[in-house]
């Protein structure tokens, strides 16, 4: 459980023991298991992981956007604090109530703006649709609202752009439209799934600055799903690192980067050329080697018996294969850090990049 300080209201979102599995031809696979985290009002939690770690599935589960055909089975709780102060469990909510929340109090920005926008509607019409439904505005007011939203996301010549189609816009502009669409009903929780991954770095910087500004102005909470540790470091308040469907380490962003404790987090940071360069002492005349994590993620169809990271872990001992370690309680690893590793309190891992 989280321990909110007196000044802090209830978390905007508090996820407890979230698990999601899907039916595949080869059998049921557990994509997300035992995921717990909390996001406070105005805070950003980054959910970090590589392909297949379950970070996107977590965000889609929270939004309730799984395709029926995948036969998703979801367990756990996700307590969301509504605007009126009521706390509701998103996962237990009837579909009709959930639909009333989605796009309204909680909204989502996707990775690929071209495939998430409707190509046959103008950008104005897409925003219009959402605000007519949730804010009950009349046609004229809704269209004016759509234009205001485009201005809010700093789209130049919003008055003309509101009548343009997605294909007429650049990738960066489309992502701004996606954000305008998500922000249209002033959500209190924004889930952003790799929002800048398809963009160039200079455009990424623009979009991140925009999202930061909107968050500051509105006080919304954000769940930021990404694989980019640079973006996490620059942007998040707290980080949860996922591996093979589970959170392996969560901590405030400064703590996590200053001293990662889970061997996977250590490895992930040591892999970064920028980090390697800062830490590595070049052997005379030789190129410093990146510290690669050997091997690859095991298949979700044949998970290892114990810790999922054990087959790739240099600190593995026999006990690691006995059972999946639990996430440590807050405080046991210092501060609000939580780590899923049986060896974490033995000795600090310092020589990661050496």
């Amino acid at each position: 459980m989280t321990t909110p300080t007196a000044a802090m209201a209830a978390p905007r979102l508090e996820v407890q023991g979230l698990s999601t599995s899907f039916a595949t031809d080869a059998g049921r696979i557990q994509s997300v298991a035992d995921v717990s985290f909390a996001i406070h009002p105005g805070q950003t939690l980054a959910l970090v992981g590589e392909s297949g770690s379950g970070k996107s599935v977590t965000s889609l589960t929270l939004m309730g956007l799984h395709a029926k055909t995948s036969q998703a089975q979801v367990t756990g709780q996700a307590w969301f604090t509504r605007r009126d102060g009521r706390r509701v469990d998103l996962l237990a909510l009837p579909e009709a109530e959930r639909r009333a929340l989605r796009g309204n109090e909680m909204a989502m920005v996707f990775q690929e703006p071209m495939t998430s926008l409707n190509p046959v509607l103008t950008v104005g019409e897409q925003i219009f649709e959402s605000v007519r439904l949730h804010l009950k505005l009349d046609r004229k007011a809704a269209m004016a609202h759509a234009q205001r939203m485009l201005e809010l996301v700093e789209i130049p010549a919003a008055k003309q752009r509101v009548h343009e189609y997605p294909h007429q816009l650049s990738g960066g502009m489309r992502q701004r439209v996606m954000i305008a669409l998500a922000m249209a009903c002033s959500p209190t929780l924004l889930i952003a799934d790799e929002p800048t991954t398809a963009l160039d770095v200079t455009i990424q910087a623009q979009i991140l600055a925009l999202m930061g500004r909107l968050q500051k102005e509105t006080g919304m909470s954000m769940l930021f799903v990404t694989h980019n540790l640079g973006v996490v470091a620059q942007y998040a308040d707290a980080v949860a690192v996922m591996y093979a469907g589970r959170i392996v380490e969560s901590a405030p962003v400064h703590d996590l980067f200053a001293q990662p404790e889970h061997p996977y987090t250590c490895g992930l940071l040591a892999c970064l050329p920028g980090v390697a360069r800062r830490h590595a002492v070049a052997v005379a005349g030789q190129r410093p080697r990146l510290v690669a994590i050997p091997g690859q993620v095991s298949s979700p169809l044949t998970p290892p018996p114990g810790c999922a990271f054990a087959p790739r872990c240099e600190r593995r001992i026999a006990a690691c294969d006995a059972r999946m370690p639990a996430l440590s309680d807050e405080g046991s690893a210092g501060g609000s850090r939580r780590v899923r590793c049986i060896r974490v309190n033995e000795q600090p891992i310092e020589e990661v990049a050496a």
Binding site: D200, V201, T202, L208, A209, L229, C271
Partner: protein, 330 residues
């Protein structure tokens, strides 16, 4: 040939690119994907080619491997014994024997391997095409290649779908190495891979380059990897060269405003170094209708009226360091 195409080319060059252009489409406004680009690649170095989408970096890689034909310009190749064969002027037939010397590694390891061919056939096809390691020597050579890229000989009998992304990229590297090239174009070879796997492939590329004495053109948008892997860097914007410099000089003292903006936009993986980013406003202009004068001026924070008619010639700013910006006061 104008002044801009006379880039500096000192030292022992394997490749010299001079005034290279590639226009796509016809009519009054073709897309100028590569527009008067000149640079040299020295024997044994790793040259980084960086830029954003639409900067022309991949097109240059495809021009050098003759996967697309240049509109104008020269690409001089100084192979062993031969002096300055112009790749640009060759027919595909003339270029064919050189293909074993000039190889490419593609971005998408999923799309660049034939799903119906066993790895033995993928690598064997490359050997057959260039009549290397024939007969009894063929299978041992294939096993040797697989070992060289960190795979196992028994992988030869498998199909591409049985491999992960990182392993497929290793196969792509093995295929490029199969015909014993001395120059490899690596076109965003890491973009489709997760970071932990990227590090494995970066180490592999570095090792192979040293062992085999390869010359590498490393095309990437990831500035951190480029800094780590490359000896010198060419920065492109809208089909033009903005800056050429040794890696350490480029990252320590970027001379061109675009390079500075690009470096500043890359997020640093360290929360202690957060910055209020000096934002580059706006989007890339259309390469079919680039701005007059300096192509970067529409987004440049230092642009003045004269930039509209400025010459894009490279100007020296230090040892082996060149920029395409006429303003020396910024």
């Amino acid at each position: 040939m104008n002044a801009a195409s006379m880039a500096p080319t000192p030292g022992d060059n394997l490749i010299e690119v001079r005034g290279l252009r590639k226009y796509f489409g016809t009519g009054p406004h073709p897309v100028r994907a590569v527009d008067d680009v000149s640079f040299a690649i020295r024997r044994g170095e790793t040259l980084g080619l960086v830029g954003e989408s639409g900067s022309g970096k991949s097109t240059i890689g495809r021009l050098l491997t003759r996967l697309v034909d240049p509109t104008a310009g020269q690409m001089l190749y100084h192979g062993e014994g031969a002096s300055g064969q112009d790749l640009a002027g060759m027919s595909q037939g003339q270029f064919r024997p050189l293909r074993s010397k000039i190889q490419i590694i593609f971005q998408d390891p999923y799309a660049s391997l034939n799903p119906r061919m066993r790895i033995r056939e993928v690598l064997g096809e490359a050997l057959d095409t260039h009549k290397q390691a024939r007969g009894a020597a063929r299978l041992p050579r294939i096993h040797e290649l697989l070992t060289q890229v960190g795979l196992r000989p028994e992988h030869a009998e498998r199909f591409p779908h049985e491999f992960s992304g990182g392993q497929r990229q290793r196969i792509g590297i093995a295929r490029a190495l199969a015909v014993q090239p001395n120059f490899i174009v690596a076109d965003e070879p890491l973009s489709a891979l997760d970071v932990s796997i990227q590090a494995q492939v970066v180490n592999l590329l570095g090792d192979l380059k040293e062992q085999l004495g390869l010359t590498l053109l490393f095309i990437s948008h990831d500035l951190d990897v480029v800094e780590y892997l490359c000896d010198r860097v060419v920065v492109l914007y809208l089909g033009r060269v903005m800056e050429i410099a040794p890696t350490s000089a480029l990252y320590a003292q970027p001379a061109h405003p675009y390079t500075r903006a690009l470096l500043a936009a890359a997020p640093i993986p360290d929360p202690a170094q957060r910055r209020t980013i000096p934002l580059l406003q706006g989007d890339l202009p259309s390469p079919a209708n680039p701005p007059s004068g300096c192509v970067f001026r529409t987004r440049c924070p230092h642009a003045v009226a004269e930039c509209a008619s400025a010459d894009m010639a490279l100007r020296p700013v230090g040892a082996d360091h060149w920029k395409a910006c006429w303003r020396d006061d910024i």
